[in-house]
């Protein structure tokens, strides 16, 4: 394995992330050089979420997305194939697409007019015969295309690295959960579409603040989000004091912080005590008819899964996306101190319009730039970021000790996963662990197949569940 040690002052990168002791230097969240290195080491290598096939249903449809700081175009070509291209002209670099989405025959560069087919081929070059006189081979000057793309049950992912493992291998034990996220509520594969458009806004903090803490920081909920229940933003209205979760009450389960430290993925996931899917509980007290739709869907899903043990249904897919049945959260790096947050909202493709509308209104109240939960979160991430940049402030490391050394396995309940108490910082340590590996790796060969978690990484697996 390539040991690529870089120094910050007199400190190596590895010395900034001490998972044994749960101490992490603030430097990795604010340092410009580390940020630039992330763009290369993390964002040109990892599989990244691009969008969903429902955003481009017809030939010629396109939607602009992002990989790291850079814009890409997800497009369906005239032969119905999906592609992901870098949004930059091969002539002088101009953006060839300046719309968020649309339908086109070609992407024509507004600068000098080079024109690219929806399959990326350069098809039009002004003055080609008269000026180039056949000296330039157009076939060598198409739009830059990602090295690998995967349409995973309707969701589209891509990487710039041809050495990366397949997307399914990248997901590892999270493959099944990721598949279920893109099912409709009756358990049908490829069952959702995304609301258009995607929410996009910028927040003044490093991408790792939200990216590494979301679905890994349950401890913040009681303090940060207490006001939400009081505001009763859920579809249940004032019922149960505005707290919807207990009303959903599936059959007996235990919630864990669940992660694959070797891969960096993880979420807050339940292990149920019995197979199958729990019966539906009504909660849409403020919107007539919605419960009827979801109850019927749930019955179909229960039938499909009656013999199967289900583990969890949300996941943070390393490095910067969290996928859930009703929302997808992406944190794009924009600069060391700025993150561009994107929210996409899946909804059952076949749902009646009034259900789609109700779900959309709920999600707008709940998340995004003006939703109540994320306003709470942003206040913390943004101010914590700012207060971590000072010369003196940077002398004091962050504390990631919660639950360190208390992880355990339950191969029967959650194969391949590492578990910890439902309020821990296990998932955040996993992400930091994988971050360090990516930042030090010379290539994918150094980090896949994965390196087993070292017993001294603050994530030693103590024992099997039931013996702790």
């Amino acid at each position: 394995m390539t040991a690529l040690v870089r120094s910050y002052g007199d400190r190596s990168l590895r010395s900034l992330v001490d998972l044994d002791r749960g101490l992490v230097s603030r430097e990795i969240y604010v340092n410009e050089d580390i940020y630039k290195m992330e763009l290369e080491q993390v964002y040109t290598r990892a599989w990244l979420f691009i969008g969903h096939e429902s955003q481009v249903p017809n030939p010629g449809d396109f939607v602009v997305s992002r990989m790291g700081e850079e814009e890409v175009i997800l497009v369906r070509d005239r032969k119905n194939e999906l592609h992901v291209f870098l949004n930059t002209c091969r002539h002088r670099g101009m953006k060839v697409c300046r719309y968020d989405d649309g339908n086109t025959l070609v992407f024509t560069c507004p600068f000098h007019g080079w024109s690219y087919d929806t399959d990326g081929r350069l098809v039009g070059v002004p003055y080609y015969d008269a000026a180039y006189k056949g000296d330039m081979d157009k076939s060598e000057w198409g739009l830059p295309e990602v090295a690998q793309m995967c349409n995973y049950y309707g969701s589209v992912w891509a990487t710039w690295d041809k050495g990366a493992p397949s997307f399914e291998d990248y997901l590892g034990p999270y493959a099944d959960m990721a598949r279920r996220v893109f099912q409709s509520t009756d358990g049908e594969d490829n069952g959702v579409e995304l609301f258009n458009p995607v929410y996009k806004w910028r927040i003044p903090c490093n991408w790792k603040f939200p990216g590494f803490s979301f679905d890994g920081d349950r401890a913040h909920g009681a303090m940060t989000h207490r006001s939400i229940n009081v505001a009763a933003i859920g579809p249940q209205g004032d019922a149960n004091g505005g707290n919807r979760s207990p009303l959903l009450a599936p059959f007996p389960y235990t919630d864990y912080e669940m992660t694959v430290p070797e891969l960096g993925h993880g979420g807050h996931n339940a292990i149920y005590d019995q197979p199958g899917v729990a019966p539906y509980k009504d909660t849409w007290f403020t919107e007539p008819g919605i419960d009827d739709y979801y109850r019927e869907q749930r019955e179909k899903k229960r039938e499909k899964y009656k013999d199967k043990y289900i583990v969890g249904e949300t996941a943070h897919i390393w490095p910067n996306v969290n996928i859930q049945p009703h929302r997808i959260l992406i944190w794009h790096p924009h600069s060391a101190g700025v993150t561009e947050s994107w929210r996409a909202y899946p909804i059952d493709r076949m749902a009646p319009q009034f259900v789609k509308d109700a779900q959309r209104r709920y999600m707008m109240r709940y998340g995004g730039p003006c939703g109540l939960t994320e306003s709470d979160d942003m206040e913390n991430w943004n101010y914590a970021s700012a207060a971590s940049t000072g010369t003196v402030a940077k002398r004091f490391p962050y504390n990631f000790m919660m639950g360190a050394g208390h992880a355990f396995k339950d191969e029967e309940g959650a194969p391949g996963m590492t578990l910890n108490y439902e309020v821990a910082e296990e998932n955040q340590r996993s992400r930091l662990r994988r971050w360090l590996e990516f930042m030090e790796a010379g290539s994918w060969e150094d980090i896949y197949p994965v390196n087993p978690v070292s017993p001294s990484a603050g994530q030693a697996v103590k024992a099997e569940r039931g013996t702790v």
Partner: protein, 87 residues
């Protein structure tokens, strides 16, 4: 009195003129499919699709005296090469 920027503007207009080499600016953005156009190289072509970007047309070559083998082939025509709309 002319200023430096006047001179710049005149110069870039001249460049634009020489690039176009045409007295007439043909707006191609709204040309419907089936239109026929005359191209600078003498070919006559039919518009098969219009991406409506103002820069290009998808065409089928109908007449090509200089190179008859091009007749019937699909091509793309750049805006400044469209010198007339004949139908």
């Amino acid at each position: 009195m002319s200023t430096a920027s006047d001179a710049e503007e005149t110069k870039s207009e001249a460049i634009a003129d020489s690039a176009v080499r045409s007295k007439k600016v043909i707006m191609i953005t709204d040309l419907p499919e089936g239109s026929q156009v005359r191209l600078r190289n003498g070919q006559i072509a039919e518009v098969t699709a219009n991406p409506r970007d103002g820069g290009w047309l998808f065409v089928k070559i109908l007449e090509s005296d200089a190179d008859p083998s091009r007749v019937g082939t699909d091509d793309m025509a750049f805006c400044v090469d469209v010198i007339d709309v004949i139908k």
